[in-house]
Symmetry: C2
Subunit: 342 residues, 2 copies
């Protein structure tokens, strides 16, 4: 594997240490071009690095015969590569209805859930670090950034997918080694190698928002500026760096001007109001966000409006209170702003 | 003017103090819907606030008879509103060729240039603060943000147009009071009021990148997410706040750890390398940007690559040198990074 994108990818995996000696990789194998290339690549990589590889196919139960054929194809290919294969079947339409989600989002949620569960099972079984390998590429990344940008999101949303994504709650890691490759590079390489793949007809269905973005909007943007996708990715990198910067600064700030209390009944973080008032409004919101993260382990269901709400308490002074999502409360007590979760 | 968008706009102008008693407003009047609404609004505003108003029409010399008719229409309307009218004619095709610009960009550059010159002339004549009023609205803003995002830009580019833009070099201010209004709101209000306007055929020409973005891409994005335009604007606001935050922090940093020297032969800013090394890479680049701004009054022709280049000098140590655009040089001397312009 000393040719074109294989080499590029090999050097990246090595440099970033995405996969280390002795680890276990669970590959999400749909049978499509991207995951077939990743299967080929990881198999080749095993000649240079010792790690375990398994492939898992998630059957969403939405495309009838076509889906069954995808599963069969994936199984056959995995066998050909001598990679242990697992199949998981779920019912996306039921899940979508129960959770009031669109089909696309329900499918993604269930797929990630199944992969995480399997990775944790395998990890528990062997006691070895297990990572999930996903075949997202640069075009998927641009689609994701644009999707979040028009849906409304802070820096974390518009930073795109991470090549190495540590999922704290799941004690596992998502790897996306192909993010620096264009879809067309992958297709070209598969053709050179004579590797077959299946085309998922739902990937061409423009009634799905993300497909429409990928198939219509992004090519149109590239007509206006040939570097559109690359520039979107550079912007996302800037957002990602900015998010990390603010997180770091907010953590430092809380260590310095905040106090954490924990009791059997709950957690509380108190922040110095005079010190908060010295900071810029944007940074104050980052401090609140970090405090919520420290209280809850995540900031799901919290957004700009909540952080603005907390900020308004500073002006209201002693006694001001605010109820926030997930049982979090904000309160002003003398010169401290208290964020509590009971 | 106590109805719908008129009132909304009136309250905004008052709150933001975009126009103050005794100032002079030079309105860019194309004769199109947006500038016709702004003409109507400013004229109404004069009933509540005492300021001088003039209208200026810039004829680009690219649409033959149609352009002449636009100019005539604009003149007649200004006369109807009893607003002094000026016409300025230029040749966009020649300027575009000379400066290797696209027609759209050349037209914009010349238009701004003519408006600024006229504003400064009027200001010098009366000694009163003169501002240029432009009729950009929310759809134009979304188009601008997307355009810069796919063209590749830092926070300043993707922050969009400012409602109040102080042009330091030109000693004048650009006002864009309509940025919070959608195009369709403006059209609806003009219809209610029975105000006529001209349609510029080049605004419908989809071979122009920005028109294509506005007429094709943005409506497509709004089909995917009805709030797409609003969310793009919110993102731009976040970028704008972030840019301001970094600028403020970088200025503080330079005051603390930088030294400015000025002589008859040039300017120099020296920065403490040990202190630079304590900072995050993203913030270091912001420091370099601010230093360049202090040296030159602007950062035109400087971009990410240059700031990365300067940053690499830190590792090279004593004696490292780099030539940058516009005669700026970077150099490491002992434990200081020198940015110089001779």
């Amino acid at each position: 594997m000393r040719k074109g994108i294989d080499t590029e990818l090999f050097l990246q995996v090595k440099k970033q240490q995405w996969i280390r000696e002795g680890e276990q990789i669970l590959l999400a194998l749909s049978g499509g071009a991207d995951s077939m290339y990743l299967l080929y690549f990881l198999k080749e990589l095993q000649n240079h690095l010792s790690f375990s590889l398994r492939a898992m196919h998630v059957q969403h139960g939405i495309r009838g015969d076509e889906a069954v054929e995808d599963a069969t194809f994936s199984r056959q290919q995995a066998e050909l590569y001598q990679v242990p294969f697992l199949e998981y079947t779920c019912s996306v339409p039921d899940y979508a209805e129960e959770n009031k989600l669109g089909i696309e989002e329900a499918a993604r949620t269930l797929r990630y859930k199944a992969l995480k569960e399997e990775a944790l099972r395998w990890q528990a079984e062997s006691g070895r670090k297990t990572k999930i390998a996903l075949a997202h590429h640069m075009d998927d990344q641009a689609e994701t950034i644009l999707f979040h940008l028009i849906r409304g999101a802070g820096f974390s949303g518009i930073s795109g997918m991470k090549a190495e994504d540590l999922l704290s709650e799941a004690e596992t890691t998502l790897l996306r080694p192909l993010l620096s490759l264009r879809k067309e590079e992958i297709l070209k390489r598969l053709e050179e190698l004579g590797i077959p793949y299946r085309e998922d007809s739902t990937n061409r269905d423009k009634s799905y928002a993300r497909n429409y973005l990928r198939l219509e909007i992004l090519p149109a943007l590239e007509k206006i500026n040939a570097g559109a996708v690359k520039h979107l990715l550079e912007a996302a990198e800037l957002f990602s760096e900015t998010e990390a910067y603010f997180q770091e600064k907010a953590t430092e700030w809380i260590k310095r001007y905040g106090e954490r209390k924990e009791s059997s009944t709950g957690k509380c973080i108190s922040l110095s109001i005079p010190q908060l008032k010295k900071e810029n409004a944007l940074f104050r919101r980052e401090i609140y966000k970090e405090a919520i993260f420290l209280l809850r382990g995540n900031t799901t269901e919290f957004g700009k409006l909540h952080y603005h709400g907390i900020d308004r308490l500073l002006k209201r002074g002693n006694g001001g209170r605010l109820s926030l999502p997930k049982g979090v409360k904000a309160e002003v007590e003398q010169k401290r702003l208290l964020l509590e979760k009971f």
